[in-house]
């Protein structure tokens, strides 16, 4: 460790830790404590109530992330097309361990657009819904760059042989930022294949990602991953 000297140590600065500046009081309409104690049936009622405010529905979504179950899915899914509430709806849906969530997200792929579509795709990727991978393969070529990038990322997260096939095909057909995103997604997909024991497919993906026409950070990562996997003590012999 370099010995500190007067020339190298920055001058002392006044510390401001430990004190909270004053903030404006929270208005009653923005106080969430009551909603955050409710159970699922009451929260679903709030979502369905046309008189509920944006704040109330947003917080109902967040509480449903903790306590929601299958019966909350329709009310949450109905908000996936709401400009302000779509992200809150995904927040509430994503942790619910019921296949109806995946059905709802897949169903929303054809109903929403733009950022909302990108968000739905992100949640599909989070849940690693393999049933969506062919729909995502089409969205990979969407005219909206945000949607296309979300699609490649989700395909990478889902991983598996079909994901690898789609990404390899995408690397031939795309260019620029989308191709860079496909390459990055390829790394994620390859890791998933390696973890599931499909070394052959993983190495095939790493081999393509190691080529000179791949962005440098991905290329180096692919080469490093190949060497690490080939030399790991726990590798199959």
């Amino acid at each position: 460790m370099t010995q500190a000297t007067q020339e190298t140590v920055p001058p002392a600065k006044k510390r401001g830790g430990g004190q909270r500046p004053t903030t404006p009081p929270i208005p009653p309409e923005f106080q969430a404590a009551g909603i955050m104690k409710l159970d699922s049936p009451e929260l679903v009622q709030i979502l369905k109530d046309p008189g509920a405010t944006l704040f109330q529905r947003a917080k109902a979504c967040m509480r449903l992330a903790q306590v929601g179950a299958q019966e909350a899915v329709p009310a949450l899914a109905a908000l996936l097309s709401d400009q302000r509430l779509a992200d809150y709806a995904r927040f509430g849906l994503a942790p619910i361990p019921d296949p109806s969530v995946d059905d709802a997200l897949r169903g929303a792929l054809k109903k929403v657009k733009g950022k909302l579509l990108a968000g739905v795709i992100d949640s599909i990727g989070q849940r690693k819904d393999a049933k969506a991978v062919d729909a995502l393969a089409k969205l990979m070529y969407h005219a909206d760059a945000e949607v296309a990038q979300a699609a490649v990322a989700a395909i990478g997260q889902i991983s598996g042989p079909r994901s690898a096939e789609i990404l390899l095909d995408g690397l031939k057909k795309t260019k620029g930022p989308l191709r860079a995103a496909a390459a990055a997604a390829g790394l994620v997909s390859a890791e998933g294949l390696m973890a599931s024991g499909d070394r052959k497919q993983a190495f095939a993906l790493y081999d393509v990602l190691s080529r000179m026409d791949i962005p440098r950070p991905v290329r180096l990562a692919a080469m490093h991953s190949t060497i690490a996997a080939e030399t790991a003590l726990g590798r199959p012999r």
Binding site: R20, M36, A65, A94, G125, L220
Partner: protein, 439 residues
């Protein structure tokens, strides 16, 4: 990381050789500073170039370190607030006596610069993991302020991305390199305390952020022009809420969308030191039991698989400063904090080092930054590397979840899930607002 020499075509070689031939015809004057021949000079080719993203008051401490080093330069700043961009630029330009510091309203432009080797990420907490992943994907080395993550899943994604791209990552958990803390940790690791029994980490005091965050919103105010404050970018991965200047002025802590609460705020420093003392950088505690309401005092009793206990507590310290830690073994104990003072059991008093001269807090940050810079040069892992930071934060998030639920939880480090507690497992992650994601 292994690098392969890039293939050069014959045409490229011929073109380069012709250019070199043309240059060779002209007299060449090379300043001695370029060759590092002036005493103390570092050739520009050996300088590590940094950019800063979201440099607020805390980030300025890191920028000040960079500005004081001969082997590093600060080249660019990206911030959603134009007043911060201009302040950082004027500070940097004044130091270097030029006008070279570039300003960007978006991080993308900064990260696209091939000359930038590394970045300082000093945004609000909500951005720490997504921005670190974006920087890793761009091949940049990363110094990121703590807390490093908002959830258990973010902690995992952070470690995966850094490992995947092979960049050097240093979390802003600078006390890992502070001399008094290093002394205490080495007493524990080296066996001088005997078999470790209990590690204590300061979980904050009653005057700072309580453990549990709020879901409230501040009153809505008109959004400023985008070129003044880009509110959408400021929110980043957090869900939309109406604008209020207090958030942007630094008063975002305490809100669920932006902050992990007091346990993360303090534990990212203090529990982190306990992790290292217990040689537990690759794991986290397996049991968490909270005691106390959302006020002071409160305790969270944790236990590692190796039997060592970890206690998050906000009271009962010896007054050695903020971020205190105490390590107890069956052969003695040590306690220290941000004042730099160290107290030990009677039998260990002969081990005490002489007091460090100078401001302990500033020196600690300087040592941490030197550690990071040397590791960039050598491609080693710095003291607060991504895996260590990730596991510290997973432990703190688990402690917070136990505290929030008000019940004992068991954590499986191998499976990265809570055992038999679906409600707790649902709290391991949260959705991000597009286009920000964790891959």
């Amino acid at each position: 990381m292994i690098e392969r020499a890039e293939a050069v075509t014959r045409r490229q070689f011929a073109r380069t050789a012709a250019q070199a031939g043309a240059l060779a015809a002209a007299p060449m004057i090379v300043p001695s500073s370029v060759l590092g021949r002036r005493a103390g000079a570092v050739p520009p080719s050996d300088q590590i170039l940094f950019g800063g993203i979201g440099i607020g008051n805390r980030g300025m401490s890191s920028v000040a370190c960079i500005l004081s080093y001969k082997d590093a330069r600060f080249r660019a700043v990206a911030d959603v607030r134009n007043e911060r961009r201009e302040l950082i630029k004027s500070t940097v330009d004044k130091r270097y006596q030029n006008s070279d510091c570039a300003m960007y309203s978006s991080h993308e432009e900064l990260l696209a610069r091939e000359d930038i080797d590394g970045v300082v990420i000093a945004t609000g907490d909500r951005w720490h993991t997504p921005m670190s992943i974006i920087a890793a994907k761009a091949g940049k080395h990363i110094y990121c302020e703590k807390p490093c993550s908002m959830t258990i899943q973010e902690s995992q994604a952070l470690a995966e991305a850094v490992r995947r791209y092979g960049v050097v990552y240093q979390a802003g958990c600078q006390r890992r390199n502070g001399k008094n803390f290093v002394f205490a940790m080495e007493l524990a690791r080296g066996g001088k305390l005997g078999k470790l029994q209990t590690l204590h980490c300061n979980a904050g005091t009653g005057t700072t952020w309580p453990p549990i965050t709020t879901h409230d919103w501040l009153p809505a105010e008109p959004e400023p022009a985008k070129e003044v404050v880009d509110w959408d970018r400021w929110l980043g991965p957090s869900p939309w809420r109406p604008y209020n200047p207090a958030y942007v002025q630094g008063r975002w802590r305490g809100y669920f969308d932006f902050h992990g609460g007091g346990i993360l705020e303090w534990g990212s420093h203090t529990a982190d030191l306990c992790q290292y003392a217990n040689d537990a950088d690759d794991t986290e505690p397996v049991e968490y039991e909270p005691k106390g309401e959302n006020t002071t005092p409160y305790f969270i009793y944790c236990r590692y698989a190796n039997g060592v206990k970890l206690v998050h507590r906000d009271s009962g310290w010896l007054g050695l400063g903020t971020c205190s830690v105490r390590f107890e073994g069956d052969n003695g104990w040590v306690e220290t904090g941000d004042t730099g003072k160290i107290e030990v059991s009677e039998n260990l008093k002969s081990e005490l080092p002489p007091p460090e001269q100078g401001n302990a807090f500033n020196l600690t940050l300087h040592y941490h930054w030197r550690d990071f810079i040397e590791c960039i040069k050598t491609r080693s892992r710095p003291r607060s590397h991504a895996t260590a930071a990730a596991n510290t934060h997973i432990g703190c998030h688990a402690a917070y979840i136990a505290y929030l639920l008000g019940r004992r939880l068991t954590w499986d480090p191998a499976k990265q899930e809570f055992v038999g507690d679906a409600e707790a497992n649902r709290m391991r992650s949260r959705e991000l607002r597009p286009p920000w994601r964790l891959v």
